[in-house]
Symmetry: C2
């Protein structure tokens, strides 16, 4: 999300578009794979294919970083790996803390991609005394009371929240108060933070719901119908208002129009 910034005198157009930033890690991964196979150079076409984008976009993206290619030849793999790493800030070490070592937190801690690439798990923190001291991914879990001290002593500026939704905002507040300015949130909650703090969220159920939307549309298209509406036919409004069937706003839902198509179905699908 937008960095809550004020302005920038723009010494030299240091504004890399957010969309480009979000793709740099993809390029970096593809380049690292090439590097491991000792491939010396790569064209925008090849690299784009490996990263799953189109080549025009990739070239435009790279143009924001500088002229790192050679016309008629392509890009030097090692050189690009370094330049992108530097741009992303991965040439330095980022200590991170993870709060909430339940199922998901433990899985994340064990996830390899976390430790590599400039990131180092400085501490795993949980509010459950029974967890404290237990080793997860080779690191002993620490108690939440020590959160501030841990962050301070390790110079942590990036925190990962993997707590239940109910605890997330509270943990977030403590992280921010202790000096954390970037947060990766796995709890299904909207976090509110002061200006200057970045939050990114990863939400599994939201991703599934987006897929379901498209899936539904595909199913609808199959048999000629222009859209969704499960299998239930559209019904005259105000059907069975017995239990859960919510009616249109105040009253008189039978007016001109309400939705593009479906009103309430006669029977609520389970």
């Amino acid at each position: 999300m937008a960095t809550g910034r004020t302005h920038r005198p723009a010494t030299r157009s240091r504004g890399i578009p957010e969309a480009t930033v979000a793709r740099l890690p993809l390029y970096l991964r593809a380049l690292t794979a090439l590097s491991e196979r000792s491939v010396p150079t790569v064209s925008s076409e090849e690299l784009a294919a490996a990263a799953g984008v189109n080549s025009a976009k990739l070239r435009k993206d790279f143009s924001y970083l500088g002229s790192y290619g050679t016309r008629g030849v392509g890009y030097d793999v090692e050189y690009l790996v370094y330049q992108i790493s530097r741009e992303l800030g991965l040439t330095q070490d980022w200590p991170i803390v993870m709060v909430g070592i339940g199922n998901l937190g433990a899985a994340l801690a064990n996830y390899g991609g976390f430790a590599s690439r400039g990131f180092r798990v400085a501490a795993l923190i949980d509010a459950d005394p029974a967890m404290v001291g237990k080793p997860v991914a080779g690191i002993a879990v620490q108690f939440i009371d020590d959160l501030e001290r841990i962050i301070d002593e390790n110079g942590v500026s990036i925190g990962v929240i993997a707590t239940p939704a109910g605890a997330a905002q509270q943990v977030c507040d403590r992280l921010v108060a202790a000096g954390v300015t970037s947060i990766l949130n796995f709890a299904p909650t909207v976090l509110s933070v002061p200006d200057g703090v970045d939050v990114r969220k990863v939400d599994l159920s939201i991703e599934l719901q987006i897929l379901a939307f498209h899936e539904q549309r595909k199913a609808g298209e199959e048999n000629g119908a222009p859209a969704p509406a499960a299998a239930a036919p559209v019904a005259p409004p105000v059907a069975a208002r017995t239990a859960a069937a919510p009616a249109a706003p105040a009253d008189a839902p039978g007016d001109g129009r309400n939705g593009p198509d479906g009103d309430m179905p006669a029977v609520m699908p389970a």
Copy 2:
């Protein structure tokens, strides 16, 4: 302006922008919370705050679904919950399969948000015979050889991949061949799929890298410098080669320009 697209005859402008679709789950979650507190109506301002967006955006989003509000009053919570659920396809049941029941897969299976809201875990599948039969989140893990049968028998159209990167494309191919048309990919790999198949990916390390980029920029801004260049630069890749450090493309790194600022560090830590 007529959308000169090669798409639907547009019976009734059924094109909900992708950005809007991606926010519907957020609104739905906020509305569900209100519903549980028995709040009858909500204004765009209030709901927007709860969902973490601004109210103009929310109203625009809802306008794509239809006129579900009441001017001067706001939106009926129950009614909106239903309309958004329907639009997202959550009024029907979506059986899903998850392939790869390692740390992450198990965590996801246990994650509550998965099972609720229209989704039902039809099967957990793994390639490790030692896992087969073990109960995870109350479901016995099945062997990957049965993947096609499982998908077919359960009418599964959504699959979740939580395998190691190396296995992901192969699993993806089998899922698609068996009839899955939507995939949520947790493996750090670009999946290639035929047209008509949707893939969404969730990538933990990419999210962290994006945060690091912004974090680095903040740190640079603090002391006046316009940007990055870590304090203690880690050695660039492949430092220990004869011609250490990746040189600029072919030769002549000392030409006019290369990057916005940092070229290679002046001193290569060998």
